[in-house]
């Protein structure tokens, strides 16, 4: 089964991930990729306590995750990988070329970003990052929960979500 979803979501492990995706996909593990969180015992424990008991949580840096991806992909149960932003996912994809699909699940409003969907706001640099990632052959779409329509990257970037 291995990792079924590679997700960009600035909220990381939260309700949409553990319930929205976790229930229908019967997820049994989550890989959280964040170079800052991996360095903090308290932050790691914060996310561990928010993860349902039936799921394993692995907190990794980009580098350690790239090294461990074959191990995660060899698991018999389904998992989800989540990174906080476009740059982190792009770095991971450059170190782990086996990643062929990326789900944009939640990039929320901060100054400098424009709305594309109610749950996706992108800066020009992030849009360029997504286009560059797509140019390497990675299929990118936006979808917050499984029941919603997936929005392909070209369509996403053409939208005015305001």
């Amino acid at each position: 089964m291995s990792i079924e979803v590679y997700r960009i979501d600035d909220r990381l492990v939260h309700g949409q991930v553990v319930v929205g995706w976790g229930q229908p996909l019967a997820l049994r593990f989550i890989v959280l990729v964040d170079d800052a969180i991996v360095q903090s015992d308290w932050e790691r424990e914060l996310y561990r306590m928010g993860t349902p008991p039936e799921m394993d949580l692995f907190v990794e840096s980009v580098e350690s995750c790239a090294l461990r991806l074959p191990e995660f992909d060899s698991r018999a149960d389904p998992g989800l990988l989540v990174a906080p932003d476009v740059a982190t996912m792009a770095r991971l994809c450059s170190m782990a070329p086996g990643i062929r699909q990326v789900n944009v699940g939640g990039i929320h409003h901060v100054a400098g970003r424009v709305p594309r969907l109610p749950y996706v706001f992108l800066s020009p640099a992030e849009e360029a990052g997504l286009r560059a990632l797509a140019a390497t052959g990675v299929a990118i779409s936006a979808q917050d929960v499984p029941g919603a329509d997936a929005v392909p990257l070209d369509d996403l970037l053409a939208r005015d979500g305001s």
């Binding site: 600035d10 909220r11 990381l12 492990v13 939260h14 309700g15 991930v17 553990v18 319930v19 308290w42 914060l46 996310y47 306590m49 928010g50 993860t51 349902p52 990039i107 929320h108 409003h109 901060v110 109610p118 749950y119």
Partner: protein, 135 residues
């Protein structure tokens, strides 16, 4: 910070959860001034944290009630509580829990544990194929 005496609480969660909970308490008791609702809708993790911190400081809150243990409001509230002495986070909030906390004695952890127990006791399952109630 508020001059109000007695328990003061933030209710935070997905969508309009907090607003709805505060509205229900107001309809039942006639007074929900001890509560503030915070929604995570449309905010990133930092934005939710800032919203909860601002509401907690303005109200002088003792506790942040949230919906899901794994929710982004819970994560944010725990970060705020880490930097706010005395502030407690309680997950799985319900109407019975809020009512017991607001109308009962005390404001601290003991009062919250009592409210959580009352909320657990309020979960009942009626009916079923045999027509028997299951408690």
């Amino acid at each position: 910070m508020s001059e109000r005496v007695g328990p003061r609480a933030i209710v935070a969660g997905h969508g309009d959860f907090g607003v709805a909970m505060v509205d229900v308490v107001r309809r039942i008791t006639g007074d929900a001034n001890a509560l503030r609702a915070v929604s995570g809708q449309g905010l990133d993790a930092g934005g939710i944290e800032r919203a909860i911190r601002a509401a907690a400081e303005e109200l002088g809150a003792h506790v942040v009630f949230t919906d899901l243990p794994a929710g982004s409001c819970t994560t944010a509230a725990r970060r705020v509580a880490r930097e706010t002495p005395g502030l407690v986070v309680v997950t799985g909030a319900s109407v019975p829990m809020l009512l017991d906390y607001l109308l009962g004695e005390g404001t601290g952890v003991e009062a919250l544990q009592r409210a959580a127990e009352r909320a657990r006791d309020a979960i009942l399952v009626f009916g079923g194929r045999e027509g028997r109630d299951v408690h």
